[in-house]
């Protein structure tokens, strides 16, 4: 649907699309080509570029795949939590009076207007052993809890940062949903659960698919949350790629890792599209 819109624009008002085409060419297509080029080459003796699959083979070795699967797992958990929290919220928002729903949804979006790093740093101060939350616990006579530098803190950080990306697409699907379908189901004798499972949920699938995509992919590739909230005990795939480029100056191997990431992205998008044949993913836009 999106593609059709874009090509339509090009046909009718070609000139206006040029800045966009140039933008995509410079900042998306060219870097992708460079990554592929780096991933399949290496600098041999005397600075000559040689074609090799060695970097890719190393990227698929058990040491690095462990990091990969851990990132997938963490991202899946974060996505599941976001879905469980976000779905009911989106539903409730859509059933409220318009004016109240507008205020509440602004409250959900409001934190996103602040820089992601700042918000994460703020959580560091809150969760610290000597932080406000633990001080409150101590005032109540409860032993301080080690929140910071745990896997739980990383999941929390991911959920906190990406929850709005789950709520908004589902909310927009609910808003457009034809309530007469639900009324019909009730008229025909379905109870609340049956209505939900067989009517509401299938109708909101498009929103869930875009929500899951928009949470899972950035969660998988994130790289500062592990450092700030997780105390770098663990590495996510984003951390690994960053380390190869900036610390090891291994652009070839770093690109090979990025290619592995890219393969996952493409697989995931394909999977999501399969579940969303009707193209309702566009409901987000």
């Amino acid at each position: 649907m999106k593609n059709r819109q874009i090509s339509g624009v090009i046909n009718s008002r070609k000139v206006f699309a040029l800045p966009y085409v140039a933008w995509i060419a410079i900042f998306t297509v060219a870097p992708l080509i460079l990554i592929l080029l780096y991933a399949f080459t290496d600098t041999g003796s005397g600075g000559v570029m040689i074609l090799t699959a060695e970097n890719l083979a190393r990227a698929f070795s058990p040491l690095y795949m462990t990091v990969f699967w851990r990132s997938v797992l963490m991202a899946l958990i974060a996505t599941a939590v976001c879905l469980l929290l976000g779905y009911p919220v989106a539903y409730m928002l859509s059933r409220m009076k318009q004016s109240r729903a507008a205020i509440l949804s602004i409250l959900f979006i409001l934190p996103m207007w602040m820089n992601f790093l700042l918000r994460t740093y703020a959580w560091r101060a809150l969760l610290d052993n000597a932080g406000i939350i633990n001080q409150g616990l101590m005032a109540l006579g409860i032993e301080p809890v080690q929140f910071l530098y745990t896997e739980g803190a990383i999941i929390f950080g991911l959920v906190y940062n990406f929850l709005p990306f789950m709520i908004l697409p589902i909310y927009s699907v609910f808003q457009k949903m034809d309530t007469s379908c639900i009324q019909a189901a009730q008229d025909l004798g379905a109870n609340k659960w049956q209505t939900f499972w067989r009517v509401t949920l299938p109708l909101s699938k498009g929103g869930i698919v875009s929500g899951v995509t928009m949470v899972f992919m950035p969660a998988m590739t994130t790289f500062v949350i592990t450092r700030l909230l997780g105390g770098s005990h663990f590495m996510m795939y984003g951390d690994l790629i960053e380390m190869e480029f900036l610390l090891m100056s291994e652009w070839n191997f770093g690109s090979a890792l990025a290619v592995v990431m890219l393969i996952l992205t493409i697989l995931f998008m394909w999977l999501m599209r399969k579940y969303d044949k009707e193209g309702e993913g566009g409901a987000l836009l």
Binding site: A22, T66, G231, F245, M248
Partner: protein, 351 residues
Amino acid sequence: MKKLFSILFVCLLLAGICAGCASTETADGRTVVHFLNWGDYIDPDVIPMFEEENPDIKINMTTVPSNEEMYVIATTEGTQIDIVVPSEYMIQRLMLEDRLAVLDHSKMENYRYVADFVKTCTYDPDGQYSVPYTWGTFGLLYNIEMTGEEIDSWDALFDPKYKKQILMYDSIRDSVGLALIKLGYSINTKNQQEIDEAAALLVEQKPLVLAYGTDDLRMTMINGSAALAPMYAGDAAYSMMDNPDLRYVIPKEGANIFVDGMCILKTTDVYDAALRFVDFMMRPDIAALNAEYNCYSTPEDDALLLVDSELLENTAFNPPKEDLENCEYYEHLEKDVLRMYEDAWMKVKIA
């Protein structure tokens, strides 16, 4: 035709970007020197002072957090950098790769102030390619209130009684290096077995570690949220001024000693102007200003005379010279060896 137009557009954009980065002159005709420095490493007054004394030069400073990033930026084609301040092992690498310009000592008045003990680092004994800017050690910072005793050994970082009060440095060579020192090996070892042993030790240590970090460790130590952390002397000296319970020690097994030196890249178009700035930075009053600002030791005895006495008494800033005897400089390691260190650190990270 339309396609041609868009290609042209892209080329124009790219040309614009390149023209922007290659400027060696300001609009009013001053020579621009691009200086790639560490963050918080120079007194903010120093560059304006230089520009006042040398009205024909403008210093354009950019900062990076690590030697490795400094290397990436300095050597990426198309970026215009004239002066860099890498640590000795990175200087060695840049020297080996023939990326540094030879410094003309006849035009440097202030090199004579630099103390001999840092000049004699093995990599560049005559200061042909670099002049020392700061030096320091990578030792152990601890909170004496929390440990309850004085500490003089790296063993404390591996002691179960400090469980979850230990911070570790999230850096490959520093962390693997301190494990190597504790085991009695060289921090420049090329022996796979020794590196494996160090990795195993660090994996074993992992449950005791509260967090791995870099610059943020400073804040955690000042807050008193952890008891022990390996730290660069400059960061340690800074922390000790904010929290009087903190002590710094160069452990008896030894430690890494480093010298950060100013170098001029071979690719420079403004060699003379860059050299004037490098020389200015070595003037004792300027070196003293910078030392007081960044808390890293200055290699100039004349500058030490001008430094605040509180800082001078700080054991991290001005350690007893006999403690330095056990200390070892990093050497630049070949890619294959470095990969052994990297794999060792990866094992720790995924454990």
